[in-house]
Amino acid sequence: MSVGIHAFGAYIPKARLQREVMARAYSWFNPSLASLGQGERAIANWDEDALTMAVEAARNALTPQQYKQIDGLYLASTSLPFQDRQNAGIAAEAMHLGNDLHTMDITGSQRAGTSALLTALQIAVGNRRNTLVIGGEKRQTKASSPLQLTSGDGGAALLVGPGKGVAALVGYATLSVDFVDHYRGQNQPFDYVWEERWVRDEGFLKIVPNAVRQALSNAKVAAAKIDHFCFPSPAKRVAGMLAKTLGISDSAVRDNLQGRTGEAGSIHALLMLTHALEEATPGQLILIAGFGQGCDALLFQTTEQLVTQRPMKDIKQLLSAGCPNENYHRYLAINDLVTIEQGLRAEVDKQTGLTTLYRNREMLLGLIGGRCETCDTLQYPKSNLCVNPDCGALNTQTDHSFSNMPCKVNSYTADRLTYSPDPPAYYGMVQFDQGGRAMLDFTDIFSDSELSVGQAMRLMFRVKDYDVARGFRRYFWKAVPIDNAFDNNGKP
């Protein structure tokens, strides 16, 4: 019985920090950083994390019909916002997937992404269920560390289920080896990294070939037949060396996007897979490998469906939508890597009433408002009495989801008084084309001139507030100028 990938999409945050600036800032301390000082890496905005980027990737990947087919949601990452509060559950609320859902976080290793994908495929084989696999990564890295230069923030999403879909699983293998190239212990913010030559020679070049050969053998496919080989390591030439060892054509080795986005940790293999799916033609073989205390190797064959099932915005478009950024100090500040004076206004208590949050979770996380059954007026939030001055009916409102609705700016400002981790704070009245409005925060605004009354916007799921004292964070929806995020082309 065939199983495969039915939808795919990625997310790359808009700002691209120039590595040359990063390398130069710490060349006094570590001159060898200069060898990594080329290209750019994607950096999440202050209000993005692994969870929000994963949700955005899913929204990019799915058609409205596909939302209704989802039986499970797995969220992969090693940089999840909560250690004990299921992160996948927050994503499910954001996408309003309902409660009849198997949700799970998959974490703890750099192959969390491929392991989540493999598990979802196995569920599809065994239980005939559709699972949405999403992942995001925003690694905390030390200033002057090579990891800070080679990493990149991003998200990926794949809908997996029975049937061949756009790419059918034709073979796989998985190996567990406690090879500790790096680790991050309990309550440690940063990775501890061992010598890269050892990691390459004893890790990548010995463990990965074993898993790949097993997968190819299971699929009865010769290595030379592989059209796309996705290996996510940022280490130079490693993918090429693996290809040579395995007998995979050198031309099949895919760009690891190191020059454009950086390595998105445990989900980079999935990001490269979505990229490969975008560029593949029907009937091609795609091999991906995820490395981390062992290796997952998965082999897919694309189908004709690839022609019609596309993400709203492909990686090529996401890459070209990037905004080059040279403000390394801003990166350090919004990632808590430098202590900056935030001012007394930052001290306002951000405690969240968990009872309040639970009671209003659909309104807050799912952006569910109301539609009056009497007069059809859309309104946010939903309320007992209709807001339409000509109606005012009692208890007539049914749930209405606003998150994918087209909207426009009605009024706006750029506020330098209110506290924001990245001032000025942009916000304004946003009006939905089909009715309803809300005073919302704006995000991903990189210059004043982008805003005007009537400007088309779309909504994105973002961090609203960090409660640093308690380690909590609030999520809500913010408006982004449509030209600068992914344009939804009329699709939700």
Binding site: L357, V387, N388, T413, D415, R416, Y427
Partner: protein, 401 residues
């Protein structure tokens, strides 16, 4: 419609503390300062006051909740004291309570006193605080200037006004208020400024610069009210009576329904219409002699001139530039310096506005005095945000006017 409040209640006495950064005074000191002046002005004894209304908005920064702080500060003899809070309209709300008590016959003489002690936060601007548990989870990260600033983008769009023209009219408003404040010994900010300074000031919230924003001050103001008969019996002449007391409160239409375009105040239009009707005024532009409006930001004052039906819609910019609202203009607005320069101790502001009109009508406004004593004056407060607010409109005037 009900007959309304017109001429049922007279102002017996008023007081106002010096506004400003009163680093060395507690709220209680400010309350005693304004009350002592009012009591002397009224010419009565404290125990003749039968009920009091006490307004503060951000009480957690100073006196705390309830009417107790007023009763304790003034050592009131176990009379009813009601604490009111209705954002920046709190002072007018206290006045409304006291006036209604007298009009109903429940009290012969009543006190309305407002106070705010805002300069104990450690930073400039209004205190940053919670807007309520659920609101904090979805309201935008807005400040007062940021919410009012949006009037500008919506007004420009609606009336096809250039950013420069609007900004310049806003600058004229601030320069005018600084000129007026300079003549007021009780004002917080007393330095004249130039249009150039306004236009080049640091940005607070686009397009509001530093000088487009009012002062945040400590201060107190109060009014003692009674019936015209009692006032006359106490020997008062040329009484100033209450003509209208109106309040309009947003019901969510602005923030949730697309019928509002963001360029004006639905509440002000509703409250002022009712106030003119209550006062029997048909042509406000001709009838009103003096305006004290809620100029928290220059752009607020500008659009308010239209919402009060003084300037025709879309034409406030012309009136402002023509000097219609200057201290020597047809209808001076903020002749005491306004929130902009007199200052804005929230709970006291509505009463401070009445204080100036009261002084002007009695010819007691010193360097600021109008050549001809005004007959009808209007005060206006806005509390909250343009998309969700409380608006009060009070009209007072010479008895019989």
């Amino acid at each position: 419609m009900a007959k309304g409040i017109k001429d049922k209640v007279a102002i017996l006495g008023m007081g106002c503390s010096k506004f400003g950064e009163r680093w060395n005074d507690n709220a209680e000191d400010l309350m005693v300062e304004s009350f002592s002046e009012a009591l002397k002005d009224a010419g009565i004894e404290k125990d003749q006051i039968e009920a009091a209304w006490f307004s503060t908005a951000i009480e957690e920064q100073h006196v705390g909740k309830s009417g107790i702080p007023l009763a304790m500060a003034l050592r009131l003899p176990y009379i009813p004291v009601t604490r009111v809070e209705n954002f920046c309209a709190s002072g007018s709300e206290a006045f409304r309570g006291a006036v209604y008590a007298v009009a109903s016959g429940a009290a012969d003489i009543a006190l309305a006193l407002g106070v705010e002690k805002l300069k104990d936060t450690g930073y400039g601007g209004l205190p940053q605080r919670s807007r309520g548990g659920l609101n904090d989870m979805y309201w935008s990260n807005m400040s007062a200037p940021g919410s009012f600033a949006q009037l500008a983008s919506a007004y420009q769009e609606k009336h096809r006004v250039s950013k420069q023209d609007l900004k310049q009219a806003m600058a004229h408003i601030s320069v005018k208020s600084h000129d007026n404040g300079a003549k007021n010994p009780k004002a917080h900010l007393r330095k004249p400024i130039t249009e150039e300074q306004v236009l080049n000031a640091p940005m607070i919230a686009e397009p509001l610069g530093l000088f487009d924003c009012c002062g945040v001050s400590d201060g107190s103001a109060c009014a003692i009210v009674t019936t015209p008969d009692i006032a006359a019996a106490l020997g008062k002449k040329d009484l100033i009576t209450v003509k209208a007391l109106q309040l309009a409160v947003s019901n969510g239409t602005e923030v949730q329904h697309n019928s509002w375009d963001g360029s004006y105040f639905m509440t002000t239009r509703a409250a002022s219409k009712r106030a003119y009707q209550e006062a029997g005024i048909e042509k406000p532009r001709a009838a009103i002699d003096l305006l004290e409006v809620h100029d928290c930001f220059s752009v607020t004052e500008l659009v308010t001139m239209e919402d009060l039906y003084i300037s025709p819609e879309g034409e406030a910019i012309n009136d402002v530039r023509d000097g219609f609202y200057d201290s020597d203009g047809k209808v001076p607005c903020q002749i005491d310096g306004g929130l902009k320069c007199f200052g804005h101790p929230i709970g006291a502001s509505g009463l401070r506005m009445l204080y100036e009109i009261y002084l002007q009508m009695q010819g007691r406004a010193g360097d600021r005095q109008r050549a001809h004593d005004p007959v009808l004056g209007l005060t206006h407060n806005l509390g909250g945000f343009p998309h969700q607010n409380v608006c009060s409109v009070v009209i007072v005037g010479q008895q019989g006017a």
